[in-house]
């Protein structure tokens, strides 16, 4: 089936997008830019007769989807721009996308808020760290801070399973001999509850200059209030089903 791709690609001058992905049985190919919705009607099965019917069915289906919103000729996603910008400006297809400064301005990042009541500590911290780092975005870049801000409220109500409440130890060392200080989860929660979530999330963020800056995007608060109403935070989408404590 690779022959289909190879033979027809000769007609197109090096535009990578149509060359790879066109697999039309009908030759409705218009120069470089072909309306993408026609591409969707692929022939996935080898036999031509069934593929034609499949193609027709798929094409009708996709056009119905499109036309319900905007007619395909005016849909901005599929507008054929003449000449294709790729040939005039920088090569946006063959160079892997890297964010410009305007793509990661702090003022335009999303703010999320999450209530820590009765959520398992580690799973909550993992979700938070993913959102802060930006790993859920398609524009993820490891060297750039593309993530969002996360506000955690009710930090003192975060839950742990098993006997961790009395057995999980938080250690720190002052640097001097004999300077190890140990606290249990319960003691730390009474003393400084925010530190528990901060400790957990910091362990899940990268360690380094960027990681330290990412950590400043986490805001943890002990009660239900937070001073960031002006940022209009939205609810953090949680995919993990086991994040709620099973009683």
């Amino acid at each position: 089936m690779a022959l289909v791709c190879g033979s027809a690609s000769v007609t197109f001058p090096s535009s990578s997008f149509p060359r790879h992905s066109h697999r039309n049985t009908s030759s409705s190919l218009v120069g470089l830019q072909f309306p993408f919705h026609k591409l969707v009607s692929l022939s996935l099965s080898p036999s031509s007769s069934s593929s034609n019917t499949n193609a027709r069915i798929l094409r009708i289906h996709s056009q119905q989807q499109d036309s319900s919103l905007v007619p395909p000729e005016q849909d901005p996603r599929f507008l054929c721009v003449e000449p294709e910008p790729r040939f005039k400006g920088p090569d946006i297809w063959n160079k892997t996308w890297y964010p410009k400064a305007a793509d990661h301005v702090n003022t335009e990042k999303t703010w999320y808020v999450v209530d820590a009541t009765d959520k398992v500590l580690g799973r909550l911290a993992s979700t938070i760290a993913i959102h802060i780092r930006g790993k859920n975005l398609e524009t993820y870049t490891p060297s750039v801070d593309m993530g969002a801000f996360v506000i955690v409220v009710n930090a003192e109500k975060v839950a742990v399973s098993g006997r961790k409440r009395t057995q999980k130890l938080y250690r720190r060392h002052s640097g001097r001999p004999g300077g190890m200080k140990v606290e249990t989860f319960a003691q730390l929660q009474n003393r400084i509850p925010e530190r528990i979530i901060e400790h957990a999330v910091r362990g899940m963020l990268p360690k380094g200059r960027l990681g330290r800056r990412l950590f400043t995007h986490l805001k943890v608060y002990e009660g239900p209030d937070h001073p960031h109403a002006a940022q209009k935070p939205i609810e953090l989408p949680i995919q993990d089903k086991r994040i709620y404590l099973q009683r």
């Binding site: 790879h20 993408f36 692929l42 996603r77 892997t96 975005l137 398609e138 993820y140 490891p142």
Partner: protein, 119 residues
Amino acid sequence: MTRIKRGYIARKRRTKIRLFTSSFRGAHSRLTRTISQQKIKALVSANRDRDRKKRGFRGLWIHRINAIIGKNKKKQYNRYSNLLYNMYKGQWLLNHKIVAQMGILKGNCLLMIANEIIT
């Protein structure tokens, strides 16, 4: 034998190396012996990392594809692995780079493809 001084031969060789290392930090661009060592290390890293670069970018593309597929499609099989499997089944010859670029630049197109081929 007649006495032969080495003259400036060694210095000529070292100035070329020094030019290569001229932007390195601290002693690595100032001290003669360190300069020779650092040049070797730099070239070794460059050689090795030309192959790692290929690995690294492929991983980045895979991650980006997974992110956009998993983000918007709330169907059951909204993962990179399913997308790739169905692409192979449907004999799509797109490489990872282009699929990832499509995800960023023309995200809706990629989602339309994914909707069609992920059953």
